[in-house]
Amino acid sequence: MGTVVTIEVVRPDAGTAIERALDWFRHVEATCSRFDPQSELFQLTARIGEAVPVSTMLFEAIRFAVHVADATAGAFDPTIGSVMQQRGFNREHRSGTEPPRIKTDDTPAYRDVVVDDERRTVMLRRPLLLDLGAVAKGLAVDLAARELQPLEDFAIDAGGDLYLGGLNRERAPWAVGIRHPQHAGGMIASVSLSNRAICTSGDYERGDHILDPREARRARLQAGERRARLPRAPEREARRRQPGIGKTGSVASVSVIAASAMLADALSTAAFVLGPEAGLRLLEAMTVDGLIVGRDLTVATTPGWPRE
């Protein structure tokens, strides 16, 4: 996953639990990587128009991703992969190798991913490159957390995506700093957490790697032969009237606290895309707590965000 995973268990008799927890990261990576031609996800994208039976892990990851795409009206969209490939995010972070390019349709469209709950199959109605990046890492954190649950007090850190179980070595809730998006080494906020995941999305680490799927669609429509005009949804109209509000560029980072890292990761990505106001509305509607830092460093939180 191109990131460093740290697991800390407070009690001394962790046994092989940490190794088993780390195995989940390897397993999720091997299943959900869009960079690895051997991965189940990669192989799925080669079978278009076919209902493909997939493993429970891949099925749950895709079902979750499509569900979040639905709930966020496409602000989070797992079919963004083709756009990311075009923009050069096609390097496998671990080995530095580039996978063979898949010829895909350009337009992100999670609606063309058909998930069959009964048969446990996934069908791509047209060539699409699924990117489960925002989901897979969270899923791995959650599976690792489940593995460590019997040990009660533990922390999992997957490149800043965290799950904090129980209490720290001082028998207090874990103290978590939220990185300042502009000051290296500085924190913009802190929270105390127990049995919660926290994930942060921002564009200060890997560069501009969070793409607004809706923006990509608009850009393509403008550039393409068919100069179709998109109907203006009320929200889009509102964003047009309020420059700076609701644009991806107005958010520096979004942190989300949830019971699951998979949910926290996906929703922080979606809220980042939606912008401060719509982002906070989404987080409240999904009954998670979030903190959004604007590019002007204004900080906005959901009402339930824990105060220090």
Partner: protein, 66 residues
């Protein structure tokens, strides 16, 4: 990475061979220095891409062990 008396005293990038702009990794060294005095158990931030740098840090720290 320079480690003296169990403390990280210097961190810098000697060579940058990343596909993306090297500006992206320049904030990392000061962060390494700052983090050793932190009052937090953990830090939540956007995904770190700094594999090479992490490796360099790990390498230096392993060599620094008595």
């Amino acid at each position: 990475m320079v480690v003296e008396a169990g403390k990280i005293v210097e961190a810098r990038v000697e060579r940058c061979l990343t596909r993306y702009s090297c500006n992206w990794v320049t904030p990392i060294p000061p962060r390494i220095l700052a983090k050793q005095g932190t009052t937090y158990d953990y830090v939540s931030g956007a995904t770190e891409s700094s594999d090479a740098f992490q490796d360099a840090v790990a390498e230096a720290l392993s060599q620094a062990k008595p």
